[in-house]
Amino acid sequence: MLSRVADGLYWMSRYFERSNHCSRVLEANFNLMLNPGKLSTGKRWQNIIGHLGLGAEAAEIEPPAAILKLTSDTSLRSSIVSCITSARENASQVREQISSEMWERLNQLYHEVVQTTAVMNLDTDVQRLFTAVREGSYKFVGVTDASMNHGEAWQFIQLGKYMERTLALPLLLDAIFSEAEGADDLDWVGLLSSCSAFEAYCKVYTADLKPEFVAEFLLLNPEFPYTARYSAEKMHAALDAIGRASSARKAAQIERIAGRLHSSLAYAQIADIMSRDFHRFLRSIIEQCHNLHSVVHETYVDYPIETAFEA
């Protein structure tokens, strides 16, 4: 497969997943805000919108303005509308690689999001936007699985999706656990909903909401598709399949990094993690992801021509 195409599929998938993450987190918090006394829960809320891309601005901005910005500001790279636009731009560059059905679903969602966010009313449109993104994402993911060869191209899409998830979750956990003081049940429900995980959590722990349980579930559960462990495992599998399909020269190095990340989550215990420096543990996952991303890029996309003739 063309290197540029692999890169396009990967980024299409990452941006798509990013828009979904942003939408899920905002939807969960938007619901929280409707409860008395929860309009702006101070530092924790600032951390959350900070990790979604508002950065330093997070401290000053009013919650309604923050939501507007994160959903519909086209000049903010991480807003929902920007992420969907970037996903579509990448998809349009690899249109002959994805199925027409995938393109049509993504294109439909794009037009819907652009229209909804063009003039946004917090009362009426925000919930509609979240729903559109959620439903659009189910359709797109479903049609991706159903209408495409599960070959190298599909694996790059998986890689992008799970890379984004493995990166986004530690950032979100960090945002919340660094200001966990005073968090009540509703806040933990909010966190789980941000990962569409509330019902799945209850099946394992019942509705008993303890911070350690929540952290354990979201980081280490091997069966739920938004957890860090599950995502790392899928990422590992995708890279393994890509390595086999392309007989790349540096596949062994990739295998080592992806395998280590996967094992660090598969063999971890939440008590160990929480008793030490939780923040550092989360940072180390993020760093391993960044490292993996660079090595994958150097191996499959942007390799020097000289190395290609050595074989």
């Binding site: 290197s3 002959e96 027409s100 049509e104 037009h111 790349a248 390799y303 290609a308 003739f309 074989a311």
Partner: protein
Amino acid sequence: MIAEHGIPAPFSKYEIGTAYDEMFRANGRPRPHYRALYAKLQSSPAEELSRSKQEADLSFFNQGITFTVYGKKEGTERIFPHDLLPRIIPAAEWEVIERGLTQRITALNLFLKDIYNERKILKDGVVPGEIIYTCKHFRRQMRGVKVPRDVYVSVCGTDLIRLPDGSFVVLEDNLRVPSGVSYMLTSRKVMKQAFPILFRKCGVRPIEQYSQALLSTLRSLAPDGRQTIVLLTPGVYNSAYFEHAYLARQMGIELVEGRDLVVHDNMVYMRTTSGLQRVDIIYRRVDDDFLDPLAFRKDSELGAAGLFNVYRAGNVVLANALGTGVADDKAIYAYVPKLIQYYLGETPVLNNVETFLMTNPSERQHVCDNLEKYVVKAVGESGGYGMLIGPHSSAEQRAEFRARIMEQPRNYIAQPTLALSTAPCFTEDGRIEPRHVDLRPYVLFGEKVTIVPGGLTRVALRKGSLVVNSSQGGGSKDTWVLQN
């Protein structure tokens, strides 16, 4: 007018002018091959047609067959206008078109081979050498370059128009990188959904095999055993990008951009996740000028540096070959009937439109004195740019063109204003009215000539307009070639 013809609703506003009408005879009776459509339209309420039209438009929109409207607020993507009613061509007429196009592309390929090699036609004085060497699409670099099978033009889109007497003539040969075939294919798919029963009743010949035919044509140009074919696109910002992606997907070949290609040791490779892979055939949708910054335009980033040398060494096939634009120059066009006679010893099956060369002093004088009667075209342009339509022009515009012609006579030709034939169209306000149309069939030339029975019928959507180019307010409609 209306009462004279007495055509009943929904055609009560249908005015038959002096142009040939595809559907109606002058007496207001439908032609035999249009009877089924005529009956369908009479029995369908306007709302039903409007609904079909909306569904068709939505389908184009969702498939992303759109272009971006610049200078307006975001979200302004528009579909290329598409008319709901098919243009129908009976089998006997198509047979003539097919024969004429085959003859024409055969002669044009022989001409290209000749002028880049022996130049017999110039020595024999049939075409003046000056007109070749002054053509901006003539590529000196191509002299003596061996072209596989001597096929210079493997994909061609010829624009035909129908004169008031009912005969088809050639308006333009597009021999460089003709586009539009994806509209032909996607609009067929939509039309089959809109009119399934009518479609079946008419006995329409299929065109869906175009992509396979294109692939075999490209394959037939390959050196033995080497079969890696790619489609080279200028990229996502090109207005025909949809078509490039569409064709690559339909053929199952890689869609590459210049930045994916690497030239090394006189071979061309593409950069893949498994390393560099050699490329054998490039179906290029990038103009000559931009293919290789070392050989042509130095500022181009759309091609690959060194590609021309690889080509000259015979290590890669380009389709179309380089330098084919010299044969669709509008001044050379005037000589095509003579080329057919010269190379094939045959009379042209499809005629040209009468064309005046501004390099000829007496023709120039005549045209400049009567500009309001002529259409003046710049020879190297396409897409309806650089044109003066005499009858619709102001005195000021005419004066400007007169000056331009005098200054650069080689750059212009003139043709009489032609009444393109009209075909029924479903208008914005839900009526059926005649609009002017042309026809662009696609001709493939490899081991043999293949013409899928159909083409792009372009339509001037504004009432009375003769300009069918999509960049200037034109649209398209499906073309149905009948079985018998």
